[in-house]
């Protein structure tokens, strides 16, 4: 790596880590979670970057260079259609196949009990052995290629396991290389490791489906709770094994359904197992977690505030970032909060003003990382993304 790039990377890594620890770096780091914006800027369709992850990495590098990003996700368009195809996954809709070539991949959730990947009477099986259930029951249901144990084997089944496994290795290995290139060519830090979800979200998103789990919390609440408890150690381990060995880059938890429930339900189903994972990662392993609060999580701030100091970086989406700062800013670093509708429809001047306001309030004592509220897709105007960078470089210096 060229010496100046090495120096740039070291400065940025230090800036990123310092801000994550809720301390004051030399400047507010720019750390966007950018998805389809990167492909639009680099001149690729969503179809191209979903089918060819090298193009996706290249698009991120182009943005990282041109917008001076200190840290970013190496590929936020994380679904690779090759992997989806080899395993025969049913739940992703892919641009250029089921979707317009210019929109990003999407998760498609079964709408009813008949389509659910886990049935209402299968809680005990999941609770007894999540691994066996996922391998023997869930995988055959979410795949067009895999057959359940006890069913006649097929060539397609054998190839799905073989090609799927090889694809996982290929993609995983390529991400390592892409991280290195992001470092050596752009001086930019790959900003997350070990992405996970809350146990309840795994149940609601990938197993039962939100509509079905909404009935389960009434009809069989004990089983819902036990399922979350059973999934908890696996999610903790998922984060831990994929975390940064140097413990500098945080893992991330992508919070999803928690805001849709009542206080009693949040307290019972969502919070206890999630809290335990975060505390364990921090206290036992020294690993921070990016708390990606999708939607408006303000009503649960008093729970989040119970987590150990510095254990998370609170990412604010549709919540009131100024309120988030008031309530938890002493304990945790905060990121995000630049509205996506402003990036899509506002003027560069409006974006600059908003970024300035956030920097000078939320970021006034350090512990703030510049980013949009939600993941940045192709609706964000290029000039507004530029304004975000310029405002940070101008107002974000301490």
């Amino acid at each position: 790596m060229a010496e100046d790039m090495d120096k740039l990377y070291s400065e940025r890594l230090k800036r990123y880590i310092t801000a994550n620890r809720n301390e004051k770096p030399d400047r507010v780091p720019i750390r966007p979670f950018a998805a389809e914006f990167t492909s639009k800027y680099a001149g690729f369709t969503s179809q191209e970057v979903t089918h060819d992850f090298e193009k996706a990495f290249e698009a991120v590098r182009k943005c990282a260079k041109d917008f001076s990003w200190d840290a970013t996700v190496v590929n936020m368009i994380y679904v690779w259609s090759g992997l989806v195809d080899h395993f025969g996954q049913k739940y992703y809709k892919i641009p250029g196949i089921e979707l317009d070539p210019n929109v990003g991949f999407q998760y498609f959730e079964p709408a009813d009990e008949e389509g659910a990947f886990m049935k209402e009477d299968e809680y005990d099986e999941l609770i007894d052995s999540p691994t066996e259930f996922l391998t023997n029951v869930w995988m055959p249901r979410i795949s067009n290629n895999i057959v359940a144990p006890g069913q006649p084997n097929t060539y397609r089944n054998n190839m799905a396991w073989l090609k799927g496994g090889l694809s996982l290795m290929a993609y995983g290995g390529a991400i390592g290389g892409a991280n290195e290139k992001l470092k050596s060519e752009c001086g930019t830090v790959s900003c997350i490791s070990g992405p996970i979800k809350a146990p309840f979200d795994i149940l609601a998103d990938k197993l039962r489906g939100f509509r079905q789990v909404s009935l389960d919390v009434y009809r069989q609440p004990d089983k819902v709770q036990k399922a979350c408890e059973a999934l908890m150690p696996y999610l903790y381990m998922n984060a831990k094994v994929a975390s940064d060995p140097s413990k500098q880059v945080p893992v991330s938890v992508w919070l999803h359904r928690g805001t849709m429930f009542s206080k009693d339900m949040y307290e019972r189903f969502f919070w206890p197992t999630l809290k335990e994972i975060i505390i364990k990662l921090w206290k036992e392993d020294g690993i921070q977690t990016i708390w990606y609060a999708e939607g408006n999580w303000d009503k649960w701030l008093k729970y989040t505030a119970q987590l150990p100091e510095k254990s998370i970086i609170y990412h604010s989406d549709k919540g009131d970032i100024f309120e988030v700062h008031k309530q938890v800013g002493e304990k945790f670093a905060i990121s995000g909060g630049i509205p996506n509708d402003l990036l899509a429809f506002g003027t560069p001047q409006e974006v600059r003003e908003y970024c300035k306001k956030v920097i000078q309030t939320v970021g006034k004592d350090g512990g703030y990382l510049m980013d949009a509220s939600a993941i940045i897709q192709s609706d964000a105007k290029i000039e507004n993304m530029r304004a975000m960078t310029e405002a940070t470089l101008e107002y974000g210096i301490y």
Binding site: E36, F108, A111, S214, Y218, S262, D341
Partner: protein, 210 residues
């Protein structure tokens, strides 16, 4: 009087078994089915009001809708929900490029439970399909749903197509879904920001009550 509200009380407490037991009892005894329907509808309205006050939540709307459906099936297994005269027609769909349907389905369910005839176009709906559905049905309200910020463009494209078809003045357009805001509604040329499913129903009611 108290006895007559038992179904209402059971539903607002999300007591599925009790609702089914009571509805079965009325049916067996040949009681007034209209009264059962009124109680069920009143309960859903009350749950909607509680949702607006943040005393009820999305799973409560889903669960009460399911209980309602089960109760109606007991009363009249041969038909889906019947509510007498329709309050009006609403065209609904998730805009082009977006395949998410939970929010849209919830609005459809609440609209149907409130007596609207819903023309549900599904997801990933092209602007032209919205236009022809509005023309064919004569609906005065159209609801555009989305989950992704990339859908802002599809919302604007749909509004544009409605304008170009010359039917903009005859239809009120509401937009909703996680990334939608007042600013999105303003910039895409819609009439109303449906911040949640219940407010979408209230908007449809307000249009047809004009």
């Amino acid at each position: 009087m108290e006895e007559n509200r038992a179904i209402y009380e059971a539903l607002v407490k999300f007591n599925e078994k009790e609702v089914k037991r009571l509805v079965n009892k009325v049916k067996e005894e040949g009681g007034p089915l209209e009264d059962v329907m009124n109680q069920l509808q009143d309960a859903l309205i009350e749950i909607g009001n509680r949702f607006e006050r943040e005393e009820c939540f999305v799973p409560d709307l889903i669960y009460s809708g399911v209980i309602m459906k089960e109760a109606v099936a007991i009363l009249d297994p041969m038909s889906s929900y019947k509510s007498g005269a329709s309050k009006g027609k609403v065209v609904l769909g998730t805009v082009y490029g977006d395949v998410h349907d939970i929010g849209k389905d919830l609005v459809a369910m609440l609209l149907a439970n409130s007596g609207f005839e819903v023309i549900d176009l599904g997801t990933n709906v092209e602007p032209a399909k919205f236009v022809s559905a509005i023309k064919e049905s004569g609906a005065k309200v159209v609801g555009l749903s989305c989950l992704l910020t990339i859908s802002f463009k599809a919302i604007a494209d749909t509004v544009k197509a409605i304008k170009e078809a010359g039917i903009r003045k005859s239809v009120s357009i509401m937009a909703g879904g996680a990334p939608v805001t007042e600013l999105v509604v303003e910039k895409t040329g819609c009439d109303y920001y449906g911040k949640d499913a219940v407010s979408g129903v209230k908007f449809a009611l307000s249009v047809y009550e004009k």
